[in-house]
């Protein structure tokens, strides 16, 4: 038995390969779009991974701290620790800002953490050790170990580098000690501080002539920040985080989300619109790609109708012709898929946002590609079998 497909491709291998590569680029774009979509979801999850909490405690009736602003006093966590089932509770503050030198500004999400907390996904350097003026940055921010970065009033030293730590909107995450984050969040510029102080001093109720010491206390109270955005709670093993969250809500009059509800907020609420947009685009792109593959495979058969008629004329059995068309279609699909996948692997890191290639997505794409090839080749086979052998001479 001879392989007709092998011979046929051998005759015009270059054309066949380039058709495959063209389809491959199209598949690559589709895969990239899927990767961008997965990346958005992954970014939302990266934050949850970084936090490593069972319960998120936020301001009452808010979807904080990302979907809505949330603010809690920073000594509130002590109350949480007294509840049964709560193992650890730690303060956390988030703020987005542009940091760096004048020529290299990067928009980052600052995450103020307890300096003794471990930092996930560290790829260089060390976690924070000092309670002030240290940063652990994500690789994507472009900063390096040992860089000194001014943020507002102080200079911070980069002591560690993480990989894959991003905010839900894709900004690289930067870890810093909580007290510094509180200060940055609250700190006004010097002119504003000066004006506020002046205003306080001119208020006779706050600065009575008979009590010259009072103003110092008023200023201390006025110019300090003891708020955080959320409190992360880890529950003791054997306790259900949903039940502990319900207890927190009931007794401490704040809102508490277990991890899965927080994930729902991050993925369902925060990036819902953007992901729907990308999702719809992905569907359209998939349909277009499928249509183009089908048309390419079908027209490949159509251009060969004359040769098929000759084959029929010399007595080639139908199943051999069908096999040739099917194998050629599958081969085209495989070349396309492989080159597409390769292309994605190499261009994905160039994207400004995170592009995630999931194994099941890739396999799904492979199956879809092959299925389309089979379907298209069936249409091609039908027309090939319908061709009369006489057209080889008559045409």
């Amino acid at each position: 038995m001879i392989s007709l497909a092998y011979r046929d491709i051998g005759n015009s291998f270059g054309r066949y390969l380039f058709t495959g590569l063209g389809i491959g680029l199209l598949i690559g774009v589709t895969l990239t779009m899927a990767g961008v979509f997965r990346g958005m979801v992954e970014d939302g999850r990266a934050l949850l991974t970084a936090a490593d909490a069972d319960i998120w405690v936020v301001q009452q009736n808010t979807l904080g701290p990302f979907a809505e602003p949330s603010s809690l006093p920073d000594d509130f966590y002590r109350g949480l620790l007294t509840l049964e089932g709560v193992d650890q509770a730690r303060n956390i503050a988030y703020l987005t800002l542009e940091i760096g030198t004048a020529e290299n500004k990067v928009r980052v999400m600052l995450q103020g953490i307890d300096p003794s907390a471990p930092i996930p996904r560290l790829v260089a350097g060390r976690p924070l050790t000092r309670p002030h003026y240290e940063l652990v940055v994500d690789k994507r921010s472009g900063f390096h170990l040992g860089d000194v970065i001014p943020i507002h009033r102080h200079r911070y030293k980069v002591v560690g580098v993480t990989e894959g730590m991003r905010s839900p909107s894709g900004d690289p995450m930067v870890f810093l000690p909580l007290k510094d984050a509180q200060e940055i969040q609250f700190l006004k510029d010097n002119d504003a501080v000066y004006r506020d102080r002046k205003r306080l001093q001119e208020n006779p109720r706050l600065n009575p002539a008979a009590n010259p010491g009072l103003i110092d206390d008023v200023e201390t109270a006025f110019f300090s920040n003891h708020r955080v955005n959320a409190i992360l709670v880890n529950v003791r093993s054997g306790y259900d985080s949903h039940r502990v969250a319900a207890e927190i809500k009931k007794w401490l009059r704040v809102t508490a989300y277990p991890k899965d509800e927080m994930e729902q907020i991050l993925i369902g609420n925060l990036i819902a619109m953007a992901s729907k947009q990308i999702g719809l685009f992905l569907v359209i792109l998939t349909i277009v790609t499928a249509a183009i593959i089908a048309l390419t495979v079908y027209s490949m058969t159509q251009t060969k109708l004359k040769e098929i008629a000759v084959l029929k004329l010399i007595g080639t059995p139908n199943h051999l012709i069908s096999r040739m068309i099917l194998l050629e279609a599958l081969g085209l699909g495989l070349i396309g898929f492989l080159s597409g996948k390769l292309a994605v692997t190499y261009w994905a890191p160039l994207f400004p946002k995170h592009v995630v290639m999931q194994v099941d997505d890739t396999l799904r794409a492979l199956v879809i590609t092959l299925l389309i090839c089979v379907l298209a080749s069936i249409a091609g086979i039908r027309s090939a079998l319908a061709v009369p052998p006489s057209s080889a001479i008559g045409g």
């Binding site: 092998y6 491709i9 051998g10 291998f13 991974t49 000594d75 193992d87 650890q88 003794s116 471990p118 996930p120 996904r121 560290l122 790829v123 260089a124 350097g125 060390r126 976690p127 050790t129 000092r130 309670p131 002030h132 003026y133 200079r155 002591v159 560690g160 990989e163 007290k179 002539a209 008979a210 010259p212 003891h226 880890n234 093993s237 492989l338 996948k341 390769l342 692997t345 194994v359």
Partner: protein
């Protein structure tokens, strides 16, 4: 033959392509081993330290002001002047105090005269009394000789008693006037003291850091007019996280970085660990003095302080990035036959430069995974990356 060559070429190309993709999946794809760096237990000296931020303050600082409300008359010193203990710094307006002092002096003089008059009166009364007593004694004898009537003698005795009463009255009067004199002179001294109190006197040697009120201003009691500090008592009032404050003791060495001189490290020493902690910020106050106080300090300037603890000699340590936590337990990923294995360890002291003392759990030969490219799990295949 030519056909065979061409087909052979195509076959080879195709096989290479498939092989390339497979290799790519194994090396970069999901099946690839996680690339990690490897560290081993190291032995050496650890220098634990605690970091805190603080402000320049003075242990001995004085707020000089009047004890009573009034108008500031003059000030003899200005911001930046060095003053001596007991030096006159300024004065409050005494208003009517000199006149009142003068009146009190006159009053004292007057009462002194009254005392003299009362003493004279006492002398006189005593004289009269002695006279009357003698008369009475004489008449008593005459009565015994029946030369005068009994009535006359009794009358003389009565006169003597009256003279005695008069003497007592005069003596009491003298005592009263003397008390008056005492009171008047006390009042005079009180006014004198008040007058002296109007002078603002330096309580110690020091440096004037602020001149807050100018002469002519009316101020209430206790308003600071001048602020004086003892420059030798400058120290850094440092906030230290309570978590780390347990190890801090008076006398430990410290390094001080002033915000005004960020690249200069000054030597210091813990002078005082304050007994009151801040429960809101969960910090504790530690005062760190300079080994030698630098020139040009300003109060309230920010400073970073690193307090050094006792050095630990020849202990086992790992970089803190190697420590991972699983269910609240500290441990490390040990590489055994190319796969990860979680090994709990006991942790001792941590240093600021990211070294962690390992007291128990691993051997020096164990190869420990650090900086993994992906989060590690139990039994994951890892590949060692060379150092950059």
């Amino acid at each position: 033959m030519k056909l065979f060559n061409r087909h052979f070429l195509y076959t080879v190309t195709f096989v290479l392509l498939v092989a390339g993709v497979l290799v790519l999946i194994l090396v970069k794809g999901p099946l690839a081993p996680v690339s990690v760096k490897v560290v081993q237990l190291q032995r050496g000296d650890l220098h634990p330290a605690v970091f805190g931020v603080g402000t320049v303050e003075a242990l001995r600082s004085y707020r000089i002001g009047p004890t009573r409300a009034g108008r500031l008359l003059n000030l003899h010193v200005d911001h930046g002047d060095y003053v001596k203990k007991g030096q006159l710094l300024g004065e409050m307006d005494p208003v009517d105090l000199p006149e009142r002092l003068k009146a009190a002096a006159l009053n004292t003089d007057k009462i002194e005269h009254s005392v003299e008059a009362a003493e004279a009166a006492v002398d006189e009364a005593r004289e009269r009394y002695h006279q009357a007593r003698k008369e009475a004694v004489r008449y008593r004898k005459l009565v015994e000789k029946k030369q005068v009537s009994q009535e006359l003698a009794e009358s003389r005795e009565s006169e003597a008693r009256a003279a005695e009463d008069k003497l007592r009255e005069m003596q009491a009067n003298l005592a009263g006037v003397k008390h008056d004199l005492e009171r008047a002179s006390e009042e005079y001294r009180a006014l004198e003291a008040q007058f002296a109190d109007l002078k603002l006197i330096s309580p110690a040697d020091g440096l004037v850091t602020a001149r807050e009120v100018e002469p002519g201003s009316v101020i209430v009691a206790g308003t600071p007019v001048l602020r004086i500090v003892d420059p030798d008592s400058f120290w850094i009032h440092t906030r230290i996280d309570q978590v780390h404050s347990g190890q801090i003791q008076v006398g430990q060495n410290a390094k001080i970085e002033l915000r005004s001189h960020p690249d200069e490290k000054l030597g210091g020493r813990v002078k005082r660990v304050e007994l009151i902690a801040d429960s809101l910020t969960e910090e504790r106050w530690v005062d760190v003095g300079f080994n030698s106080v630098p020139e040009g300090l300003s109060l309230g300037m920010l400073a970073n302080v690193t307090i050094h603890m006792a050095t630990l000699n020849q202990v086992d340590w790992l970089p803190s990035a190697a420590i991972v936590y699983r269910q609240g337990r500290a441990g490390v990923w040990v590489i055994r036959e190319g796969k990860t294995d979680f090994l709990p360890v006991s942790i001792g002291v941590r240093t600021l430069d990211g070294k962690v003392q390992i007291t128990r759990g691993i051997a020096t030969t164990d190869r420990i995974a650090i900086y993994p490219a992906k989060p590690l799990k139990e039994g994951v295949r890892v590949a060692e990356m060379p150092d950059d």
